[in-house]
């Protein structure tokens, strides 16, 4: 089929359908079907399932051929110099992302029919999930900043609804609030960044902006780097980078399939996707306004790269001493997101997208596997109360193991190996050896904490009553695991990296693998340093984990390294530091404002005026004596005063 010969409008409708189907199903469930479980299930599954089918179709029509769909945007509002529209970008970057989002979303929907089976609020859950999918697809398809920002916020809202799904648990309600507010801080910066770029270029559309920048590279002037960093701040919130990362581990209070979809595969990846979408705005020479000129030659990309690297390192270290299976995975997500952000900063948005894609598959698989374990162990999340699950839950164990291998980057037999290596290559190519070093080091950390998890939770003997009766869940929960295992292993064998390279840098020369050895051993040929070092550190991490945790009844680390262990268990005190500084500060300011409003503005001001009037009235009353002599005296005194003043 030759796509360019077909009228664009038909395919435009496909894209609209992908976007709107989940919304329609969410609305239908909310408005009418709250009591009908079967219909709820059918409706939401088919909405996302059809969406996935259509995404695959669009991918082959536009993604593979590198075509762009010339969609007609819907004009939304046009006010003076602002013209905002609802547009669709169907290009290689978005079509692959569409497949990832709808694909993972569909599998999570299927899985949820089992996981949430007994929940009385089942329909509300599926409505929220549909609403989330809609919002996320809106970001993916957006062709301008206003639309991105709109769906950006909606994603925040749906995340709030899903994290706080079990709002009766105070921890869940607090986590939902924290996630929303922390994201809002990032969004605030994002909005300012959008304002700067809009004011300078006069447009919010990505294409028009890119064209303007190409024609006039200095159009952003001295605000270039500031705009880049502010836009990045949006990604810092959504993709949970330092220092706004604190919401993501808490967000694990939501149902586990939600963690898989939102807080591992898609929403948190939205920040990275957005950075890749507007990479042309970030890749500008350093230029700061006068007040920030001390930053000198540090460019926006430098800030991005270092933030990502530090996040990846800090989160990787913290993960080593977590005991909650979901929290370990949450910190691992932070760490991997750090990788992606670092890749963007190192001038490798294609590598970032590659890792985003593979990570979406294997991390969703890990979370769904963790969900199966939690489900089987009666909502136990502490890995020290599991143990021996490999024998009792073989499907879960083997798929989990494959995903773990992918996360650690096991050579050849995992997708993570290829995508991580692309990131290391980008770090080396941009001449940032320190970042490269951090990246490789984190491979060792990753292998250490993941092996610890697998050894304690799955191997050895059962550590609790619940774990000794665990079993694989039903087919609707194991099937998604098996399906996700396929891309987790094999995605790296496909030229996904090269695909993204030509998607983001049209016309760039891409390295195309030829022949068996180059397809499977590409990293060893292509960028051997990263591949070999990574492999070495992986082996090291694995051996440390086995030496420490094989057969251990309890974690030996608090005994041997008490201080470090305590610091890591307290997540390096980020929350405590915020609680000790920002929150009292904010409380004090709010209390002050309240106090001033109550006593000064209302009290002094209002009472003062009314009191003054009152006194004045009393004074006047004193004068009203009713005594004629007094009046006469006052009259004469007044005349005398006037005469005196007049003469002076």
């Amino acid at each position: 089929m030759e796509p360019t010969h077909l009228p664009a409008t038909n395919f435009q409708d496909l894209a609209w359908a992908i976007l709107l189907l989940p919304l329609v199903s969410a609305l239908a469930i909310t408005l009418g079907l709250r009591r009908n479980r079967e219909l709820t299930t059918t409706l939401s599954l088919s909405a996302v399932g059809i969406g996935f089918g259509l995404s695959v179709w669009l991918f082959f029509l536009y993604g593979v051929s590198g075509e762009r769909l010339a969609a007609t945007p819907l004009s939304w509002m046009s006010v003076g110099s602002l013209s905002a529209h609802l547009g669709l970008t169907v290009d290689p970057l978005s079509t692959l992302m569409l497949m990832v989002v709808t694909g993972v979303s569909f599998l999570v929907h299927v899985y949820s029919t089992g996981y949430m089976e007994d929940d009385p609020e089942y329909p509300r859950y599926f409505a929220s999930l549909g609403f989330f999918t809609f919002s996320m697809l809106g970001i993916v398809l957006s062709d301008n900043f206003v639309q991105t920002f709109i769906f950006w916020e909606l994603v925040g809202v749906s995340s709030y609804l899903l994290v706080g799904f079990w709002y009766e648990k105070p921890a869940a309600a607090d986590a939902a609030k924290k996630a929303f507010l922390t994201n809002r801080i990032g969004d605030f910066g994002f909005l300012l960044g959008i304002l700067i770029v809009w004011a300078a270029t006069g447009t919010v559309s990505f294409d028009a902006m890119a064209a303007k920048l190409k024609a006039e590279p200095g159009i952003l002037g001295a605000a270039a780097s500031l705009a880049g960093v502010l836009i990045f701040l949006g990604a810092v919130g959504k993709s949970a980078q330092l220092p706004l990362h604190v919401w993501l581990p808490d967000a694990m209070e939501g149902p586990t399939p939600v963690s898989a979809l939102i807080h591992a595969a898609t929403m948190v990846a939205a920040g990275v996707y957005m950075l890749c979408r507007v990479y042309f705005l970030l890749d500008l020479p350093a230029a700061w306004p006068a007040a920030l000129s001390f930053l000198g030659s540090i460019s926006a990309l430098d800030v991005i790269a270092w933030t990502g690297a530090l996040t990846s390192l800090v989160a990787g270290v913290i993960a080593i001493q977590q005991d909650d299976i979901k929290r370990i995975l949450a910190y691992s997500t932070l760490s991997q997101l750090g990788y992606m952000v670092m890749a963007v900063g190192c001038g490798g948005p294609d590598a970032a997208m590659f890792h985003l894609t593979t990570h979406a598959c294997f991390k969703a698989l890990l979370f769904l596997g963790a969900g199966a374990v939690i489900y089987a162990c009666h909502h136990e999340q502490n890995i020290w109360k599991m143990g021996g699950l490999a024998k009792r839950m073989p499907v879960t164990f083997w798929t989990f193991l494959l995903a773990t291998a992918a996360l650690c980057g096991l050579p050849v037999l995992s997708s993570g190996f290829y995508s991580k290596d692309a990131i290391f290559a980008a770090a080396l190519a941009s001449n940032r050896p320190v970042l490269f070093g951090i990246g490789v080091l984190v491979v060792g950390l990753t292998t250490l904490y993941m092996s610890r998890l697998v050894i304690i939770a799955f191997l050895g003997e059962s550590r609790s009553e619940a774990a000794s009766h665990a079993a694989d869940p039903g087919r609707n929960m194991t099937l998604p695991l098996l399906i996700l295992a396929v891309p987790s292993v094999s995605l790296g064998w496909l030229p996904v990296g090269a695909y993204f390279k030509s998607a983001i840098f049209p016309g760039a020369v891409t390295h195309s693998a030829e022949g068996f050895s180059d397809v499977f051993f590409e990293p060893f040929n292509h960028s051997p340093l990263g591949a070999f070092l990574g492999f070495g550190l992986m082996a090291f991490g694995l051996s440390v984990a086995f030496a420490t945790y094989w057969g251990a009844a309890m974690d030996p680390m608090p005994g041997h390294l008490p201080r470090l262990s305590r610091a890591l268990r307290n997540r390096l005190y980020f929350d405590e530091i915020y609680a000790a500084t920002l929150i009292p500060l904010h409380d004090a300011v709010a209390a002050l404002a309240d106090w001033v409003d109550r006593w000064i503005v209302q009290g002094l001001f209002v009472r003062g005026i009314s009191g003054g009037m009152d006194l004045f009235g009393r004074a006047l009353r004193l004068v009203q004596t009713g005594n004629l002599q007094t009046y006469a005296f006052l009259f004469v005194a007044g005349v005398a005063l006037v005469v005196l003043l007049a003469l002076k």
Partner: protein, 494 residues
């Protein structure tokens, strides 16, 4: 047809006052019919003839010829959009006062007088007539609070009246100055807008007039009448107070102060911008500390009206358009929030203390109220899809070319907005296991049909405006681009 709602309201008000010993539900129905018909007529008129730049004169009769005062009612796109808002808010208000049993005849008579006066303000094209309607709105407001209110109602009513009169005094001084210095012997708005006042007059008359009007819009630090007034007022009155009365002040700024005195506006743009932003942040900070549920909403009104004042002070085309949208948007959203807190929650639980409400577990026992509040809360914090987002976004975009710092501080206010709304949602409705145990509470009375209808009307309005802003922007834009605002555009656009 646009002027009919005005007459209708006064006629029904008079009727209800004369026959006040009517059957218990009759006043409710009469008021609903009057307000509903008013809304219907306004909407029909607006659909028949899309209002725009053109000022359509509805009635023009001589009134006090020696002063040049006329009974002149006219409308353009701006008035039309606010008339629709008044219609929506008034219908919503009746629906949420369906349970008023204490002297309903007088209550609704005052209610309709208030609505009539509001219609009058939005339709007046004569300064004196404008001022008469503007003053007329204060009296029923005072009586409604003092007679049907709660929590320190005498204090609140008096404070509100005093502040209103303080503002009115300033407005009167400004109007007299306009009349006297123009030397045209006319109070006709169009004629005065064409006249260019000497800069020396503008320099003092603008701040006096703008501040006078803006007091009623909750200008910081003269905002304190608003929260106490909102809290003390009966539900319908707080809905109208936040929904339309505060808009009267903003409308005065937009219709009189800005177009007549553009150079004065440019001179004091930054001062009022700073005060507006102070109100945004201040209101949000104070809202964050309140225990009384209604005070949270009351201070949130101060914060949101700060955006209106900011847009008006900046007076760039985008900022003005955003300010008008924000007037409409806040009118709907604040009305809804007050309806939930005042009618759905307070009338059932008899408490507004956020520390005590947790025990009622309203999320479970009154899910309709909870969901409505969550949606209204999202609308209030500027989530896209609701009207608040486009309004505040336009104001920020319009402020940006004038001052990036003001935008940054105002944006910080939006951030706080999310915080106080979520806090209220959590404490008011979804406080789970950590709420203090209380003796078994009787389940609240079920939600009534008028409440559902009222919530539906307001929710549909805010979502409709949020999704299809073009509908209303098509009225606002041409009006702001029309000849009436020529002087302002010349001065403000470099």
């Amino acid at each position: 047809m646009l002027a009919f709602p005005l007459y209708l309201c006064f006629a029904s008000a008079l009727g209800l006052l004369l026959w006040r010993r009517t059957a218990s539900r009759l006043p409710h129905w009469i008021t609903l019919a009057t307000c509903g018909l008013g809304l219907l007529l306004t909407v029909t008129a607006v659909i028949q003839r899309t209002p725009g730049a053109e000022v359509v004169t509805l009635v023009r009769l001589p009134w006090i010829p020696t002063w040049g005062a006329e009974f002149h009612l006219a409308a353009d796109g701006l008035s039309a959009s606010l008339l629709v808002l008044t219609g929506i808010a008034s219908v919503g208000g009746v629906l949420f006062s369906w349970n008023v049993q204490d002297r309903p005849g007088e209550f609704f008579s005052l209610y309709l007088t208030l609505i009539g006066a509001v219609y009058g303000v939005f339709l007046s094209w004569d300064l004196l007539l404008f001022f008469v309607f503007y003053e007329l709105a204060i009296i029923p407001k005072y009586l409604l609070i003092a007679r049907w209110g709660s929590t320190r109602r005498d204090y609140a009513a008096m404070k509100l009246a005093l502040y209103s009169f303080l503002g009115s005094a300033a407005v009167l001084v400004g109007i007299v100055a306009l009349y006297a210095t123009s030397g045209l012997n006319t109070l006709d708005l169009s004629a005065l807008a064409r006249h260019s006042f000497p800069p020396s007059t503008q320099a003092w008359a603008f701040p006096v007039l703008f501040a006078g009007f803006a007091i009623l819009a909750g200008l910081w630090p003269l905002h304190t009448w608003a929260p106490t007034g909102h809290v003390a007022a009966p539900t319908a009155a707080s809905m109208l107070l936040a929904g339309v009365i505060m808009k009267l002040g903003a409308y005065g700024c937009l219709r009189i102060a800005l177009p007549l005195l553009p150079e004065g506006a440019r001179e004091s743009r930054f001062v009022f911008g700073v005060l507006a932003v102070a109100g945004i942040v201040w209101g949000a900070l104070v809202a964050l500390r309140q225990r009384d549920f209604k005070f949270v909403i009351g201070y949130s009104s101060v914060s949101h009206m700060g955006f209106v004042i900011l847009g008006l002070a900046m007076a760039t085309p985008l900022a003005l358009s955003g300010a008008v949208l924000q007037m409409i948007s806040h009118g709907i959203i604040a009305g809804l929030l007050f309806a939930v807190v005042g009618r759905m929650v307070y009338d059932r639980t008899h408490t507004r203390d956020l520390e005590e409400l947790g025990a009622h577990r309203l999320g479970k026992t009154l899910p309709f109220a909870a969901v409505t509040f969550v949606l209204a809360g999202f609308a209030s914090m500027g989530v896209p899809g609701f009207s608040g987002f486009i309004a505040e976004l336009q104001i920020l975009l319009g402020t940006w070319p004038v001052s990036g710092r003001l935008v940054a501080v105002a944006g910080f206010g939006i951030l706080l907005g999310a915080a106080y709304v979520l806090r209220a949602v959590h404490l008011g409705f979804f406080r789970g296991d950590d709420s203090p145990p209380l003796e078994a509470l009787a389940p609240p009375a079920p939600i009534t049909v008028p409440e559902v209808l009222g919530s539906g009307l307001l929710l549909v309005s805010t979502v409709g405006l949020g999704l299809f802003p073009g509908f209303v922007l098509d009225w606002i834009q041409p009006a702001l681009a029309g000849p009436f605002f020529d002087g302002l555009r010349r001065v403000m656009v470099p």
